[in-house]
Symmetry: C2
Subunit: 261 residues, 2 copies
Amino acid sequence: MSSGHIQGAQSTYRTLQVLRAIAGELGSGVSLAYITQRTGLSKPTVHRLLQALMAEGMVEKSDEEGYFLGPECYALGVIANQRYGLREIAATPVARIAADTGDSAFFCLRSEWHSLCLIREDGSYPIKTHVLQPGTRLPLGVGGAGIAMLAAMSDDEVEQCLAANAEECAAHFPNDQRADHLPRIAECRALGYGINRGSVVAGSWGIGAAVRDRHGRVLGALSVAAIESRLQPQRQRELGPRLVEAARTLETKIHRAQRMR
Amino acid sequence: MSSGHIQGAQSTYRTLQVLRAIAGELGSGVSLAYITQRTGLSKPTVHRLLQALMAEGMVEKSDEEGYFLGPECYALGVIANQRYGLREIAATPVARIAADTGDSAFFCLRSEWHSLCLIREDGSYPIKTHVLQPGTRLPLGVGGAGIAMLAAMSDDEVEQCLAANAEECAAHFPNDQRADHLPRIAECRALGYGINRGSVVAGSWGIGAAVRDRHGRVLGALSVAAIESRLQPQRQRELGPRLVEAARTLETKIHRAQRMR
DNA sequence: CTCCGTATTCCATAAAATGGAATTAAAAAA
DNA sequence: TTTTTTAATTCCATTTTATGGAATACGGAG
């Protein structure tokens, strides 16, 4: 998928490809054949890598459901969380946005070419859109957060991303093909925030603002979702900059957390 | 470290070795030299693997502190958590043990040859031992949970573990050398629960019971810690079986969670 | 400037990973 | 039950990739 270019580390890339093919299906198990197909690797290769990953506890296999991520992945995540405790750091701003706006607020994490919903906080407004739940994984470029993240990347990365997700978008998101993405990205770059006008589920609109790490890489995005009527242009112009500001504040908090031991 | 034996996957093992060498220092960054020394791999090899891991977001580097786990590790953990949500599942029993006994209760996760504290819940008794915090990592065999986990493994694994941790124990835990471990393991196997008689910090005692997955592999352990005077033999005989029972109940919950999608 | 510890690059060699094809196991159909 | 189909696993000669010694570059400290 990603064109691994460090020389002499092919199998490292392949190992990670396999892990992510499994991760891509979230909690549900996947078959060897599926991984084979998704990664483009040969059957014996995938099988060999899986055996090794299983021996190390990174992957487990259930007879009924196939392969899924194992306890060592979980442990790695727990440890990464010590430094990288995005959930804790982002929880406060997300809650505040939800409280202030009355709508549902989110923090989504970038994961490969996808957006992974980490936090959801509902606001007080009685009609809530339930498209994004914690754990929901959408291709980048889809949804408010996804648009913001994609727009925050280089054209080159955008290109790679659209290529990587083309198939999935074609299958699940008829309103998120290549031609639909580009103008939204341009708009987002101009405004600073991304606008989702119901392309995932009709009537469910959203706004997102990207969050970068200290090196400028896109980490994730803050976003707000509401029904169409609550996100008309005037409110977009109100919420957008508010989200962007919150994203900036969050960024400095994250940078600080990453700096100290 | 672990003698990877699946043929044709050397670099997968090496990649994971590097990741774990970094994870082993928890949130703090490590140097290339450190990883080199810890894994026994050559400098160019480690360097190459790190470049690849960084390109994939599994590892990050800060100029001041060196390498640490990156956002993709975090994301993997979040996803593994969907199925493997040990924290959520174990939270209730841990809280109940703390409430019932009045002492601090813990759930520790097995991570390689270490015990990683996931959950700590304080009881009502006013003197608390603060040796184990969430995130604390101890060699297996050290502490109540660690003894229980180690004792639950095969003699062969115990051997590997002691070898792997010998250096660390020698450096940090003078009361946890090989000769100290073996009788404790024997005791634990006889009783069903492990007893830590202050070998980490004098006066801080503990009891632990191992938790296995559906395939019998050790996942982690429940434990209780208190000051010495609160864990004398009579109370050990009271708490031990209680912990074991809680561990059994937890196991069935975990197995059920792992079975369904 | 030099020394020293650390990180990075090079490249000929050795070793490991590869994948086509064969085999086996597991489901599905007859 | 047996047959058919599909998926998983093993084999092994071939080729590519990973390897690590040595050389080089970097970054303080004196």
